[in-house]
Subunit: 109 residues, 2 copies
DNA sequence: GCCCACTATTCGGTGTTGCTAGGTACCAGT
DNA sequence: ACTGGTACCTAGCAACACCGAATAGTGGGC
């Protein structure tokens, strides 16, 4: 059921996008396309934009408006120092969770 | 500020509890204590109970009321066939997510 | 007898999150 | 004109975990 993924993405999608931005600056549409290509087929378009706005409000990313040849201007996001710190924290939390779940999976059944 | 872990647990705590129940029947208080012992120190007591009620409403678990020597009667939950199916789905979804994140972590930075 | 700690469950209200389902804007090809 | 691809935004919704408090039973210390 797709519902499982929806709930599981809460809290992780945030980190996923930051991780993408840590590799290279990108804009919303690009990020969405990238996610779709990686198998996250059901991630809604609006979700990514809302998430980027939140990231900006928290001061995790910098924004640059870049005119596009096709369509409206792009908003290119790039990770700043605070964002990198946040990403580190994210990976720590993720590692903790992933370890416990791996143990559970082995132990159970 | 919502903690990272709180948001990340959304959707996964559900599976964690089912995984615990797949090993052996248990009641709410016991599950909470188990989680605390495993490092999930900040999981609220009420959270587990609410989660168990949801699982029951979805028909994933069976409930048995067992009198306790200490305190009020326990509600002992055990996984049924539907619950095991759901757990399988959970692990599939989790695996998918964990794989993508592992790739991202390697690739990024 | 009275209070406290521990066991055990329940409930209403809150904040964060991703999804739904639209809309705006710009340009190229037909 | 019209369609399709690019690119962004928004309001309202449902699900989830947290918080704080209440309820209830048992046993031990004073």
């Amino acid at each position: 059921m797709a519902t499982l993924m929806t709930e599981m993405l809460k809290g992780t999608l945030d980190g996923i996008v930051l991780a993408i931005l840590s590799a290279r600056p990108a804009h919303g549409y690009e990020i969405t396309a990238w996610l779709r290509g990686r198998g996250f087929t059901d991630i809604a378009e609006g979700t990514v934009y809302a998430l980027l706005v939140r990231a900006e409000q928290r001061g995790l990313v910098e924004v640059a408006k870049v005119p596009s040849e096709k369509g409206p201007p792009r908003k290119v996001y790039s990770l700043n120092a605070r964002g990198r710190d946040h990403l580190d924290e994210f990976w720590k939390t993720w590692s903790f969770l992933a370890e416990r779940l791996q143990q559970l999976r082995k132990g159970g059944k």
